[in-house]
Amino acid sequence: MARLARLADSRLLIPVRLLGLTALAFVAVGIFLLLFGKNPLAAYRAIFAGAFGSTYGLSEVVVRAIPLMLCAAATAIPARIGLLNVGGEGQLHAGAMAATWGALTLGFLPRAALLPGLVALGLLGGAAAALVPAVLRWAAGVNETISTLLLNYVIVLLVEYVVRGPWKDPLSYNWPFTPEFSDSARLGLYWGTRIHAGLWFALVAIALFYFVLRRTRWGYEVRVIGDNPEAAVRAGIPLGRYILLTMCAGGALAGLAGMAEVCAIQSRLRPGISTGFGYTGFLVSWLALHHPLGIVAMAVLLGVLSVGGDQVQISLGLPYATVNIIMALIFFVVLGSRFRAARTA
């Protein structure tokens, strides 16, 4: 019996328990829907059919999971030393803006030279956007949650400004977007779907995150800070450097998500390149307990919900908000469950 209890608490079972909690959230939402006279099974069937009923649905789950994975990493990396980066949305837009600048000014370069440059610009843009709150936190003690939230608004507005002002496509009849990128600036799409090379970026980023965290000195020090920041300082670990480092690494990945969105999905910069990917990414990271592998799983789960959410509306006339409720409840249940403090990996 005692062995069973230990097993139930062991790390190996965490995914299983997460799944159980997710199911719990579905039940709760089911009750909510019943209260409003809607059939929850029909709603879940629609979500399921939307995401798994066709290869297109499946491919869209992946398309959606790409920015979510990267934005989740943007939250998870700083979270490993206890920083709460809610700025994924702004960092994504900053990365998109930087990549757009590259695509518009260096569009004449051949693909092999341009694309790596755009990737670098995306990373840099996101990192720059994260550097501001990181420096504010490090130098003046300004709380990073608040500053990243405020910066989200600023950066999104900056995108609105450039696409309607200096970068507006002169041939667009005054419509708010930049000129279309040249072919050399576009990421490849695969298999006739919208799945794009951003998938490899995301997977490599997650794998690197996992590797650095577990196998390098940086990762070790990050884990030490995460466990006990005071002890870390006493042990001579430079806390400030890690604040800057983790925030910028996170921001860079969100920026990469932005780069992938403009270079693969949109092929130009315009308002509305993200439907709250930054915020949903924050959710993904927390659902995954900031664990790299968990992020992949949870990004896919939320991808399923988003893609399925359209079906809920098209087939049943239920508001898309239904899936937002499901997402929020899963978040609550996981947050409230006992292993919230568990630090894995």
Binding site: G141, T145, L150, V154, G165, N324, F331, L335
Partner: protein, 301 residues
């Protein structure tokens, strides 16, 4: 020009002031609640639905307050009882409220309601300049600016206020001296939610007079930032809210006066200003920050 900017500031600052005051109470007890963004939405939605059903804006305001309080109860449970991360729980609450209100409020988008009417203060509203500036608003506007000194008095000159601050400063000491710290924190968070709910009521019942999903548009987040800006003081919160409201109004009025500045640039100013305020006042803030919050705001994890 100055008068109309101030007038706009008072008007636009009202929902933010309610939410900020509520957050001051919660944070003085050592709890940060980013879920105010959600509580505002819940208040706006519940207030609108109740008014639509009963034709009574007064009942609507009451319902908004109740709903805001109820929503924040979830946060209180999560952080006080379950001891979940405050920031994450607040954001979770925001997501939940956004979803629930979009769902529940959906049938009411088209409904016309009996809105909260402006109420000129007899005698005073005829005064030159100040009459229009201060005394020709709706009840909820007056309420917000009267509430601020009241909360200040309660926080700093009553036993309750002392207990609340004690819990926020030194929870362990407060607990050891026999204060029911959990109860105090629950009460503070719920009070904060009630005020956020009223903020929502002002938005949907008096200001925009309609319900649209997500209509809080980040006002709750602004409130959380303004609390720090106001160094956890209800009277300085008035200043913060009016300044924020005035900048918001100013950027609209500048346009109407024909200054060709990009509206998107102008829109950034309130957020940038808040950020700069946080930076400049960082030292003062750290000084007055309730001890209990240091863990949330400055601690790692």
């Amino acid at each position: 020009m100055l008068a109309s900017v101030l007038e706009g500031g008072i008007r636009a600052g009202t929902p933010i002031l309610y939410a900020t005051l509520g957050e001051v109470i919660a944070e003085r007890a050592g709890i940060v609640n980013l879920g105010v963004e959600g509580a505002i939405l819940v208040g706006a939605c519940a207030g609108f639905i109740t008014t639509a059903q009963t034709q009574s804006p007064l009942l609507g305001i009451a319902a908004a307050a109740l709903a805001g309080g109820a929503a924040s109860l979830v946060h209180a449970f999560m952080v006080v009882t379950v001891r979940a991360n405050q920031i994450a729980s607040g954001l979770a609450l925001m997501f939940l409220c956004l979803g629930v209100t979009s769902f529940v409020g959906r049938p009411y988008v088209a409904v016309k309601i009996n809105a909260v009417a402006p109420l000129a203060v007899p005698g005073l509203s005829d005064l030159p300049v100040v009459g229009r500036l201060l005394f020709s608003h709706d009840v909820l506007v007056y309420g917000a600016y009267l509430l601020a000194p009241l909360i200040w008095l309660i926080l700093f000159y009553t036993k309750w206020g002392l207990a609340l601050r004690a819990v926020g400063e030194r929870q362990a000491v407060a607990f050891a001296s026999g204060l029911p710290t959990a109860v105090v924190q629950y009460a503070a968070v719920v009070c904060g939610g009630v005020l956020a709910g009223v903020a929502g009521a002002h938005l949907s019942l008096a200001y925009a007079r309609s319900w649209v999903e997500g209509m809080s548009n980040g006002r709750g987040f602004i409130a959380v930032a303004l609390v720090i800006f106001a160094t956890w003081h209800p009277l300085r919160a008035v200043l913060g809210a009016v300044i924020f409201g005035a900048v918001f109004a100013l950027q609209l009025q500048i346009q109407a006066r024909g200054v060709a500045l990009s509206p998107y640039f102008l829109d950034m100013t309130p957020y940038l200003l808040t950020l700069v305020g946080l930076l400049l006042l960082a030292r003062a803030q750290r000084h007055t920050m309730p001890e209990g919050l240091k863990e949330v705001f400055e601690g790692l994890k």
